[in-house]
Every structure is written in C-alpha cells, then in structure tokens.
C-alpha cells in the first residue's frame, strides 16, 4: 500500500481495503482505520487550517480531543454533509468523502494565511479595541469581514436525510470508559451479578490497552487477555456493552446522557437504522473510568504538522499499524513519552533524540534508550520548529540551572513528539459540581467532594500504570457495590512488564527568545498563544474566567481538553499565583460535540409534537377543509367549495347558518366532570357565577378568573344532576383549567367532597346552529320533545341521538337557535354523517372556526385569549353580570378591589363600526383619539376582533378601549400605515340585540 504501514502492527483488518476521498483525492485504508490514521498511512499530515491565522495543521492526537484535524464528511447524496468532524474519530468506509476546511482556494495554498503574517496585530481581544471608526464601517465593512473569516467548516445546506433515536435505560452500575480500570470494574461487577452498562467512545473496548505496547496480563499477551475479557463480558446477560458511545453529560441524580453512533462507520447502513441514539441512563452507581489526556508542551512552532502527542504516535502505531514519520524527535517532561519513543524505535522509526527538560530521568529509561541508540538530551528543550506544512528540523537548546537556554543546533526530523504530562479526565465529574482538589506533588486536579453516587477510577485519579488502573477499577466496583449494600469478590489482574512513570509540568518550554515573539500555541484551534494569555493577564484579566473569554482559550471544539491546563499554568505564572488559586474554568456538557439530531431524537416532522385530531377531523379532511393549529389541536378553519377563498367560504357559511342551519365540530372544547356532594360549592368558589340554585337539567355561562382577578377562561356549565356538573372550557384552556381546579381543590379545599375528571375526549361535540337546527335533530331523537317549551334555551338532557347515548345541550355561540350534541367520541363521525345527510334537506352547511368567530362576534360573545389577554377583568369585558353579587368570595374576587382595577380609565371591551363599512380593520390595530396624529401616539387600545359581517353587510369589530364604556357613540381613529380609519364606538352586540333568535 505505502511505506507508512508497519507490518504486524495494528488492529485494523488488513483483509478489507477501504477507499475514501479527501479533498477529491482517492485514498486507501483498511477497515478499522480512522480518516486520520488512513491519511497518515498515506503520508498525509496536513489536514486542516486553524481558525484565526489559517496555519497549516495536522492531527495532534488520535482521539476525540483533536483540535486540528477537523474535516467535512459525507456519504454522498443530499443531506448527509457534516462539518467539523474529527478526522481522528471518523472511521473510514467505502465511499466516504471528506474535505478540508477553513481554506481558500485550497488546503495547500490558503490566502487566509496572510493573517498569520499579521499575527502581531491580532493579539487577544484586538477586535474590542478597534473597528470602531468610522462608525458607519461596522455594519458594512468590519463586521461582515470578521464574520466571514470566523467559523471553521460550512453549515450543512440541506435537511438531514437521517433519523435519530433515543432510549431510557436503568441500571445498577454504569461504567464510563473501557480502559483497564473500566474493564476491571466491569469484570468485578458483572461477576457479582448486578446490572452493568459499560460504555466507551471507541469502536473497541480496551482504552489505553489498545495503544500501549503489549504487556503481559495474567500471563497472557495483553492482546489475548483483552480478547478473552471482551468475550467474557459479552457473555454476561447482566452486562450491556456499548461502543462508539460517548457519555456526554452527567446530569442530576446519576443520569448520564450517552450518545451512541450507529451508522457513521457503515458503508451501507440498514434502511431504517437511526444514525445516532441518545441513551438516558439512570444508574444507581456510576464509575467514571475515563482515563487521562496527554498534555501538549508549549513552545515556538508546536503546532506544525508533524508535531504530535507522543501517545498519539503510539496509538497510530499500535492500533492502526501506522508510523507517523521516519525520523522523530521526542520532547517531554514526563516518562511516558520515552515509552512511546521505544515503541516507535522498535517499529523502525529513527528516534533522533529524546529531549527531556528534566535534569534526571530513571536509569532504566536511559538504559532502554541507549539500547536503541537514541540520543538522550536531559535538561534540554526545543526552542523552535522549522518547516511549514511539515516539520523539517527542530532547534534544540540546553537549559541551565537559572533557566537560561543556549542553542545547541538543529536536528532534522519529520516528526516531533511531545508530552507535557497527563491530565486526569474529570469532565463528567465536574458536570456534577463535584469539587476538584489540587495535588501539589503531581500538579494535577483530582476528584474531591462528590455530589452524586459516583466513583472515579484509574487515570482519572492520577494513577499511571496498568496495574494501578486494574486494581483501582476493581476497587471502584467494590465500593460501588458496597454502597448498594453488596459485596464483590476480589479480582486480581496481574500485569507483567508494566510501565510506570512520572513527570513535571511546564508552563512553557524554556527559551531565550522573546516571550512575546514566540508562536507557542496553547489552544491550537483558536490560535491562542502563550503570549495572548500573558497579555490578557497584563490587561487586568485576573480571573481565569476572564482570561478564557478574552483570549478564547478553551472555547474551541475540544473545549479545553488540550489547552485548559497549559492556559492555567501560564496565567498562574503571569499572575504570580499558585495554580489552585487561579482555578479552572467550568467543564460543561457535552463531553464531545454532539449532533443536534441526537438531542432531538424522534422529534422531527410529524412527531415533533403531538397533533391532536377529533374523531370528525378525518371527515373534514376528506371534504376539503382548510385547517388551522389551535393549541395542540388541528381544527377545520373553513370548508371552501371549488373556487372559494377563505372569505367567500366564510361568507357563505355565515349566510347559510343564519338563514337555515350550520354544523360545527366543537369536540375540542375542554370538558370536566365535576362530581360529588360539594360540586356546586366547589364551582361557587372557582367561578364568578353562582351555582347553588342552578337546577339539574339546566346550564349557565361560567367565568373563571385567576387569583389576580383577570379572566382566565369561560364556558358553559351544565348541571346533570344535583351532584354532577358537566363543565366546558375553551379549547386551549382545558388542561390549564383542570390543573387550576385540582390545585385549589387539593391544596386549599381538601374538605370538599368533590372530584374532577377530564372528559374532553370522552365526547365528540357537534354544534347545530340556525333556525332549522331543530329540524336536523328531531328525526333522531326517538320522540324526545325538543320544542322551545319542553327544551328551552340553556336546558340540557341525557338522551340518545341517532341511537347513540348523548348529552344534549341547548346552547348557542352564534345567537341562533342552537344545540350541542355530545356523543361518545368514537361515534362522532358516524353521527356527524347522519346529521350531514339530514342537513342536505335543509340547505345546511358545515362550518369551521373562522365562521364560528364571525358569528359569535356579531353577537358580541368574547373569545378568551383574543378579546381578553390576561389583563382584562370581568368588568372590563362587560361581563359584570356574570359575577354572583351575593357570593362572599370566589377566586380572584379580592383582586378586583385593588386600586388599579377600579380606575375608570381601564381598557374596556367595546364594539367599533368603521365609517367606511367596507373597511375591515386589522386585528391588533391600535386606536387613538380622533384626529390625533402625533408620534409617539397616545394609544387608547387595540382592535381585538374584526370581520366582514355577511349578515350585516358591513364590517364589525371589537376593541379594548381606554374608558371605552364612556366613549359609546364617540369617534376614534385607527391609524394604519396607508390610511387612518375612523370608527364609532358602540356596544358589542351587533346582531339581534334582543336575543330573540336564540329562543326560537
């Protein structure tokens, strides 16, 4: 294939070759490769450009903490492009296409790189200090340029073609991370029989075991130990293993969100497979075995392609069988890089030198190095890296005791491996607000006080050897079980040939070059240099939080995994304060960036949110209704005949209803059954109206206020029997009203013997309105008398209609003779069709919400939420009559006596008739005194409802108007952009003011 693969190394499947493209060029890798490993195997290091300076960048890690090698990916076809994917995580599959980002015209030649030349100008926070003059340039010149040069990849441009899923999972123990400590914990717990879930973000279990050169575990090669362990774990029915699954957030009460990638590694995913799934795992106990992340070193040119974490090179070698270069220099302040050097040397990489800033390193390591002919440079440093798109040479220097550096020349190499020590991964632990304590000896933050039932094991506790990690994993499992009152048998896993090590932490590598001239990167992606951090401190950013925000250190897509600790050390150095006094910025979810789709899960398109439909809705759909959304319901708005628009349809529906009869699906009205000996007393307390004297078989309009005295809801309430009421509410108010009633009943009036049951969906409600309404119903009443005498306005009865058990109300929301038939929901459509057939004999129409609105407005009936808005009292709405004058109290009564409620200048509900009868005012239009043209205007109120009234042959409107009742008969103006309309203030009843038609 090429000369960067190392025979006999790696866990890739050499039998399966995979082709993919990068920037249009086709490459080959093996199954099991990531984009980064496959490109490296092809000798490609240059994979991206940085955010600000457009510096050429290659992968610096081999994992999800990668800040540099971010690419766009797609499997082709529409809606499958994704920006900012970490090449070090994305597995290759046949047909994968990838592109580099943040470059123009090409990755190799990027014009944006001029920024790098101007870097001195672009110091941290520079944009806060300039781009202010001339002021007018901001919108047109500066900001567009700033915006265009920011951002990394490009946004997807098409709707996502994939689906996403979610799952809840409950378990005794969740283990995050399947390195040695996680595996040991899983073995221990699984053997003891508890339910265990083990998650790891990689495709394979093993964590660092996959990357380190083989040790012997329990007398077997690490590789076969791992294979056996994985097999054992997979065999436990009480253990669930999830790979490619990242614990993204640790939420309240041991709930951990785990984002599982399902198809992004497959060439041909199953058709109905979701792309990703969000697991919401609730665990009794959690073990965080996330390991530790290797820290970069900070020195001039540390961002050049070919400069890489030592452990990453080791991973590329041992896991992917790729050597990242032929000639490497290793620069380190920690023992672990020595081992990486040995692994690479053993694989044939020429290690030109190990440069260690420390004065002494164990004799054992030195001997191992000498054995491999590696030149050892203790108390040395790398002062700069040469080579632009790939390391070509590094300058070394000898560090004297006083920190002075004397150059000793350059070394040629194509790779520079660095290691600044290890940072325990405590991201998830920090999500719980668990405290961190500073381990002064090792200069790391370790877990302190816990707020959740969690246990940290392995690298996360600063333990560095496999043996220690295994032991700690066992221990953590035992602790977790113990806190559940269970015990687990001890398990010992013996490691032979273990590597232990230690190191020191440097803020910046020593150098004699001007601190402010060095290009020593701390946050690679955001191009934050050590200089930026020092400058920020000098500018008064004394808090690490200010430093972060001023420099953007740690705000890139790796969220500080690479940069936080180095940033902290440099800031502490500049501040002259110890690191723990400076503190860390807060880790927040998600652990790694997570697709929106995964959070949204199934909630997409029709399943985004419930759409409620009545039993009659299907008829409306079949008969050409136009719908509108009303709270969660969809309701038929009007029923256009061929060629009719909304206005034509509504005019016709109004005409037919007033002239003969119209039928309306009112099923969405809320319904509450109020039952018990104290039912009437309960309603007395809730509603403004009196209920005690309402006779069974009769109904009454009810008005509900909030405790603040403002109208919340209304509806007709019928007394079925002494102890049973049928309460109706507005469509949108149903749930709210029931909640409010339950609240009062349960928390204030538990002495009352009354119970509430929602019956909204028990009943389909069909409203018949118009002079011929009775004629439609009568044939189906089995002889029951519907005459005005026997069944007057506001009567109700339980009966059968068309053979269906029914509750029949004689009520009207149109001012016409009206009936509302309630039948069990599943029969709604059947009855509707029966009545529809009958209606054909009487020129009956069906109408929707729009006609309902017009007809009720002609009668001055309010719609709560349209003619009222949460600031309207019953008096304001002209509903004083609905207040039971003799009642000592009801919800909201006291508030009506507050000073502001008594002002005559309150806004009151009135009618408006425009001077020009053809002008239909816009709902929401504002009202001013006649003739007032000032701006800002003194607004007197607004139009709440406005329609063309087909019945009256003119427009009508309702309005909330300051001192409206007093203004009856006067003129006001409605200034619109194009023209001011004049109107006369009237009462709200425009049609049949004496209410005769209702009693027909």
């Amino acid at each position: 294939m090429n000369n960067w693969r190392v025979d006999g190394k790696g866990r890739i499947n050499r039998d399966k070759r995979v082709r993919f493209t990068f920037d249009g060029v086709s490459f080959e890798g093996f199954e099991g490769d990531t984009v980064a490993s496959a490109l490296l195997a092809n000798g490609v290091h240059l994979m991206g450009r940085s955010f600000k300076y457009h510096r050429p960048r290659g992968p610096v890690t081999a994992g999800s903490e990668e800040p540099n090698a971010l690419i766009g990916t797609s499997r082709g076809g529409s809606g499958r492009f994704e920006p900012n994917t970490r090449a070090t995580v994305q597995e290759i599959y046949e047909g994968l296409t990838t592109v580099s980002q943040n470059k123009w015209p090409s990755l190799n030649f990027d014009v944006g790189a001029v920024n790098d030349k101007l870097h001195k100008l672009f110091a941290a926070g520079f944009y806060y200090k300039t781009f202010m003059w001339p002021k007018s340039f901001w919108d047109k010149v500066y900001e567009p340029v700033i915006r265009a040069s920011a951002g990394l990849g490009v946004s997807p441009a098409e709707p996502d073609a994939d689906t996403y899923a979610s799952r809840y999972l409950h378990t005794d123990l969740l283990i995050v991370g399947a390195g040695p400590s996680g595996l040991a914990a899983a073995l221990t717990a699984a053997r003891s029989g508890v339910d265990v879930v083990l998650v790891d973000e990689h495709r394979e279990l093993g964590g660092s075991l996959l990357s380190e050169a083989p040790t012997a575990i329990d007398g077997k090669s690490a590789e076969s130990w791992l294979a056996e362990t994985v097999a054992e774990l997979n065999a436990y029915p009480n253990l669930r293993v999830m790979t490619r699954a990242t614990a993204i957030g640790y939420y309240h009460e041991n709930m951990v969100g785990v984002a599982e990638k399902l198809t992004d590694h497959l060439a041909e995913p199953p058709a109905t497979a979701p792309r990703e799934r969000m697991w919401r795992i609730r665990a009794q106990e959690v073990i965080l075995a996330q390991g530790a992340l290797e820290r970069p070193l900070v020195f001039d040119g540390n961002d050049r392609p070919g400069v890489m974490m030592a452990s990453a090179a080791q991973t590329y070698l041992n896991r992917f069988g790729v050597k990242v270069g032929n000639a490497a220099v290793v620069v380190t302040s920690h023992d672990s890089a020595w081992y990486a050097a040995f692994d690479l040397a053993d694989a044939g990489v020429n290690i030109a030198a190990i440069v260690d800033v420390r004065a002494s390193v164990s004799e054992h390591l030195q001997a191992e190095a000498r054995k491999r002919d590696i030149s050892i440079k203790l108390e040395h440093t790398v002062t700069t890296v040469l080579g632009k798109k790939r390391v070509s040479r590094v300058k070394l220097g000898k560090v004297s005791e006083d920190g002075n550096v004397s150059g000793i020349g350059t070394v040629s190499c194509d790779t520079l491996l660095m290691c600044g020590g290890w940072t325990p991964s405590l991201h998830l632990f920090s999500h719980t607000k668990g405290s961190l304590h500073w381990d002064a000896e090792n200069e790391v933050f370790l877990p302190g006080e816990k707020t959740e039932r969690c246990h940290i094991a392995g690298g996360g506790r600063g333990l560095w050897s496999q043996q220690a990690a295994f032991d700690d994993g066992v221990h953590a499992a035992q602790q977790a079980l113990a806190s559940r009152g269970q015990s687990a048998p001890a398990l010992s896993i013996d490691v032979d040939g273990d590597r232990t090590g230690s190191g020191i932490i440097m803020e910046e590598l020593p150098s004699n070059d001007d601190k402010f001239a060095r290009r020593a990167f701390v946050d690679f992606q955001n191009d934050v240099t050590a200089k930026d951090i020092r400058l920020a401190v000098r500018e008064g950013m004394l808090s690490i939080e200010h430093v972060k925000r001023f420099t953007t250190n740690g705000m890139a897509t790796d969220q500080g995994k690479m940069s936080n600790m180095n940033g902290l050390k440099i800031a502490a150095d500049e501040l002259g304060r110890p690191a723990p006094k400076v503190g860390l910025t807060t880790f927040r979810p998600p652990y790694t960036p997570t697709s929106f789709g995964t959070f949204a899960g199934y909630h997409k398109d029709a399943l985004f949110e419930v759409t409620r439909k009545t039993n009659i809705d299907s008829w409306a759909e079949e008969n050409g209704a136009v719908f509108e959304p009303v709270s969660l319901w969809r309701r038929a708005r009007y029923f256009p005949k061929t060629g009719e628009g909304m206005h034509g349809a509504v005019a016709r529906e109004c005409r037919q209803t007033r002239a003969s009869v119209g039928m309306f699906d009112a099923s969405t009205l809320g319904k509450i059954e109020v039952v018990g000996p104290d039912a009437a007393e309960f309603l007395n307390r809730m509603y403004t109206n009196p209920w005690s004297k309402l006779a069974p078989g009769r109904c009454r309009y009810g008005l509900l206020l909030g405790e603040d005295g403002f109208i919340r809801d209304d509806g007709v309430i019928g007394r079925i029997s002494n102890d049973r009421f049928h309460v109706t509410t507005t469509t949108g108010g149903a749930a709210r009203v029931l909640t409010m009633m339950e609240h009062f009943l349960q928390t204030e009036w538990s002495d009352l013997d009354v119970w509430l049951t929602s019956t909204t969906e028990q009943w389909s409600t069909i409203a018949l309105n118009g002079p011929n309404a009775r004629k439609i119903l009568e044939p189906f009443m089995e002889g029951a008398d519907l005459s005005a005498e026997a069944f007057p306005h506001m009567a109700l009865r339980e009966c059968t209609v068309g053979g269906f058990e029914a509750r029949l109300f004689r009520v009207s929301f149109t001012g016409e003779l009206g009936f509302e038939v309630n039948v069990p929901s599943e029969h709604g459509r059947a009855l509707w069709e029966i009545l529809y057939e009958e209606g054909k004999k009487h020129d009956m129409c069906v109408y929707g919400t729009e006609t309902m609105h017009v007809l009720r407005a002609e009668k001055g009936y309010i719609i709560v939420g349209q003619d009222t808005d949460g600031t309207v009292t019953p008096v304001d709405a002209g509903l004083s009559w609905a207040i039971g004058k003799k009642k000592p109290d009801f919800v909201g009564k006291r508030s009506l006596k507050r000073p502001d409620m008594l002002l005559p200048t309150r806004k009151q509900l009135v009618g408006l008739l425009t001077e020009d009868p053809n002008v239909v005012l816009e709902e929401g239009a504002q009202i001013v005194e006649a003739g007032d043209t000032a701006i800002p205007a003194k607004m007197l109120g607004h139009v709440t409802s406005s329609y063309w009234s087909e019945t009256l042959g003119r427009s009508i409107a309702m309005a909330l108007l300051e001192g409206g009742f007093e203004r009856n008969g006067t003129s006001i103006d409605i200034p619109m952009p194009e023209k001011t309309h004049r109107a006369t203030v009237t009462g709200t009843v425009f049609y049949d003011p004496d209410g005769e038609r209702i009693n027909m």
Binding site: P270, T272, P274, R612, G676, W755
Partner: protein, 170 residues
C-alpha cells in the same frame, strides 16, 4: 435477535374513573363485588372486571362495554351512604397492546420509568414521550397502554418508528 414484537390497537372497552375517600372504599368494594386495591399501581380483578389503583383516591375500572350499566347501577345504589365520583371514560381512551420479546425495551424508547419495576398485573399512570398514559404490564412480555384518543396517533407513530429501528438490528 429477530424482532417479533407487535403493536396493536384494541377494541373499545368499558372504562370508568372512580374516585372516593378512603373510608368509603369498603362500601364501594362491597357493591362492586370485589376489593378495590389499596396500593397505587396494584390491580384487582373479578371475572371480566378489574380495578387499577392510580392515585390515593382514584381507580380505573374496566369491563366489557356491555357490563358498564351493571357497574354503574351498583355504585349508584350505594352513593347515598358512600359518596364517590363515577365517570364513564370508555371513549376517552384507546388501548394499545405491545407484546413480544422486546416489548419492554421498545417502550423504553419514550418512557422514562424503570419498567423492570412494574410487575405483571400492575399498572401506573406515567408519561410516554410527552403523552400521559396508563401503562399496565399484562404479562412478562406484554403491556397495555391506555392513551387519550387524540394522543394515540402520536404514540403509535413513535412506536412504529421505534419498531423500524429495532428491525434494523442496530
């Protein structure tokens, strides 16, 4: 594992919401002919009738449609001594049955409760996605969901998508 779990909508059944104070449960149990369960989540059965306790003063009574009148009559008779609320909600809800090996896991796509804790024969009111449901475990691998009628398509829609997901094997 091949996916064999099924989702079906059941025919209408008789359903009452029964409410009363604790001191009246004895009288009501007597007229019903079986003891109302006393812990939330528990169900009691007698022949074709059953009562599931949903809240401290609330039971869901179920029966075949044609037996509704019997229940209503016997409870109406006892009302003067033992006041209560009996409300017919037969049509309010639709019942969905999920049965098969992966029934529990299928439901866990949208149900935040720990379903393993729900024993056979028990039932609770809970939430499925954003929808309130009464969830009963009819058997080891069989559940029934009672869902308000207009919410049922959403629940069924989610279950259908979940079935497709399970069928994909991923």
């Amino acid at each position: 594992m091949t996916f064999t779990t099924t989702v079906e909508t059941l025919p209408t059944m008789g359903r009452y919401n029964l409410r009363c104070k604790r001191e009246n449960t004895v009288a009501l149990s007597k007229s019903l002919g079986f003891d109302l369960p006393s812990s939330i989540g528990e169900a009691a059965r007698s022949g074709t009738q059953s009562a599931l306790k949903l809240g401290p003063d609330e039971w869901l009574l179920t029966c075949p449609m044609e037996e509704r009148a019997t229940i209503r009559q016997s409870l109406t008779d006892v009302y003067p001594e033992a006041v209560h609320s009996l409300t017919d909600i037969s049509s309010r809800e639709i019942s969905i049955r999920v049965s098969g090996d992966q029934a529990e896991e299928l439901l866990s796509t949208s149900c935040p409760r720990n379903l393993a804790k729900l024993s056979t024969g028990c039932g609770v009111r809970t939430i499925f996605d954003s929808v309130q449901v009464v969830l009963m475990r009819e058997g080891d691998r069989q559940f029934r969901l009672d869902v308000w009628r207009s919410f049922a398509p959403h629940v069924l829609g989610l279950l259908a998508v979940a079935c497709a997901e399970f069928e994909s094997g991923l």
